[in-house]
């Protein structure tokens, strides 16, 4: 049986994303309050509070619409405080057969998730965040001396 774990990062609170169109009993969403994220730089306290509150509200709203969530607060005894460790632990414990995430906006997390997926031993897939109006890589070719690739428009709803 397919059991999908889908990661939602703290800056991916897009309730209009196609992931959330309909609840799906084979999908569990994962949201994490982690020391990894509270400590990578010294944040303003309102920044951490703003993220945690928004994340909690987001998970609560979508749960009320029938989506399944694992939400680990910062003080949850199950919280590994590190993204790869947490995903590894959950996949092993809950027997997920597939791991999916939205492309992170940060290089640090992009690298971490790619490494995490390489070690996970189950199929992994990255999805667009369906937020921005241009492709993440649209300037990459431009700086290599080529013309910029076109910025793909999303379907306007």
């Amino acid at each position: 049986m397919t059991k999908i774990l889908r990661l939602v990062l703290g800056d991916q609170l897009n309730s209009q994303h196609s992931w959330f169109t309909l609840p799906n009993s084979s999908v569990t969403y994962l949201m994490l309050e982690m020391r990894q994220e509270t400590d990578y730089v010294t944040h303003h306290i309102q920044k951490v509070v703003g993220f945690f509150l928004s994340m909690r509200q987001f998970a609560q709203d979508l749960q009320e619409q029938g989506h399944q969530f694992i939400y680990l607060t910062l003080d949850d005894p199950q919280n590994q405080q590190s993204l790869p460790a947490q995903v590894q632990a959950l996949v092993r414990k809950e027997g997920f057969t597939r791991f999916e995430y939205q492309l992170p906006d940060e290089y640090r997390l992009d690298q971490q998730l790619q490494a995490c997926c390489a070690d996970l031993g189950i199929p992994c897939q990255a999805f667009d965040t369906e937020h921005f109006l241009s492709d993440r890589e649209f300037l990459t070719n431009f700086f290599k001396g080529k013309k910029p690739t076109s910025w793909r428009p999303f379907t306007v709803k």
Binding site: N14, V41, V48, L53, L133, T140
Partner: protein, 359 residues
């Protein structure tokens, strides 16, 4: 960026009249540089006060180290899609009419001016850039008799153009971007960046506000704190850490490109075409910070001279090899070479640089 911005306007049919830009030009930036003189124009922000003691207690109990201040009974940032859409609606109805004209203003009267307070909601994706841009355009098109095109175009350019372009730069240039230090700046950020405790009123106000609200608007970030850090030769790692931590909307992709790139020119010109630096004159012209400052904006050297003045020339003198050939900067060196008080200015700047903590 300008080419990209025009393409985006066409692609998404934003502020377009067929193939042409509405209003006959793409960019109305020239109309957007006023200082605020009339205090009665200001509006209170649309806030959603929340009780957040359960989170601040969690952070304290977990030993998370934070900076800045918070009132746990009145957390005022929008934290849901619904609240964010209300803030967007409020922006359209109450703030947009003056947004562009005063977006570069500096004032002690109000921290937000006519800025939207949507950067956090956008950067954690509670709302989308397209719905923000389309909502603002639709509101404007129904109220063209009250709201000028310059107000709207300036706002839309930031989101449809600049924000997307910065993200493109980030993914094209990371991870090398985070190591760039074009000027080889090495100084440590003065401790007063973490307290606001400096006699320079513009910096004290901008930093104190940042500590209180986790927010400053773009000219406070660019032309007050960023300008000072660049003139003073602060290491871009130190500057990045400060910006990445202190602002509620700061996530690395948007922070590092704007800070290390646009503001600090540590990328040598990938993001911008020249460093954003100024002497005291710009800050004085944009608002009222200088009128109650311990330093004198007009004074270039000697007791009470504003540090921005001598540091401005010191920055250009010490980086002459790197900047003189830039066609947008050449004029500065022709002026400098004709000045008779060059040595006094350099000596004054050296003295301030040796006493950064006491400024």
């Amino acid at each position: 960026m300008e080419t990209f911005y025009r393409e985006m306007r066409k692609k998404y049919a934003v502020l377009m009249d067929g193939k042409d830009p509405i209003g006959g030009q793409w960019n109305f930036d020239e109309d957007n540089r006023k200082a605020l003189k009339d205090r009665s124009l200001l509006k209170k922000p649309r806030v959603h006060p929340k009780e957040v003691a359960h989170i601040t207690q969690l952070l304290a109990a977990s030993g998370v180290n934070c900076i800045g201040n918070i009132d746990p009974t009145h957390f005022n940032w929008p934290t849901s899609r619904e609240e964010s859409l209300e803030v967007l609606q409020y922006f359209c109805e109450e703030l947009l009419v003056h947004f562009g004209a005063y977006q570069d203003a500096l004032t002690t009267w109000d921290p937000y001016l006519f800025h939207s307070r949507l950067s956090f909601s956008l950067n954690c994706k509670l709302i989308s850039p397209l719905e923000v841009v389309q909502t603002v355009e639709a509101y404007w098109s129904r109220h063209q008799d009250q709201i000028g095109i310059a107000q709207v175009e300036g706002f839309i350019r930031q989101i449809l153009g600049w924000r997307e372009y910065m993200r493109g730069i980030y993914w094209a240039k990371m991870p090398e971007f985070a190591q760039l230090n074009y000027f080889g700046h090495e100084r440590k950020l003065p401790d007063w960046f973490w307290t606001g405790n400096t006699k320079m009123n513009c910096l004290s106000q901008s930093i104190q506000q940042s500590l209180d609200l986790a927010y400053a608007h773009h000219i406070q970030r660019l032309m007050v704190t960023g300008n000072f850090a660049l003139l003073a030769g602060i290491h871009p790692d130190e500057v990045d850490r400060w910006y990445l931590g202190i602002y509620i909307d700061a996530i690395e992709w948007v922070e590092i490109t704007n800070t290390r790139g646009m503001s600090q020119f540590a990328d040598g010109g990938i993001v911008g075409t020249k460093p954003y630096v100024s002497s005291a004159n710009y800050i004085k012209k944009q608002g009222n910070y200088c009128s109650t400052c311990a330093y004198q904006a007009e004074k270039k050297t000697g007791e009470g001279s504003c540090p921005f003045n001598s540091l401005y020339w010191h920055f250009h003198a010490r980086n002459r090899d790197l900047l003189e050939k830039n066609p947008r900067i050449g004029m500065v060196y022709r002026t400098w070479d004709k000045m008779s008080n060059r040595q006094e200015l350099l000596d004054q700047a050296e003295d301030y640089l040796a006493h950064l903590e006491e400024l």
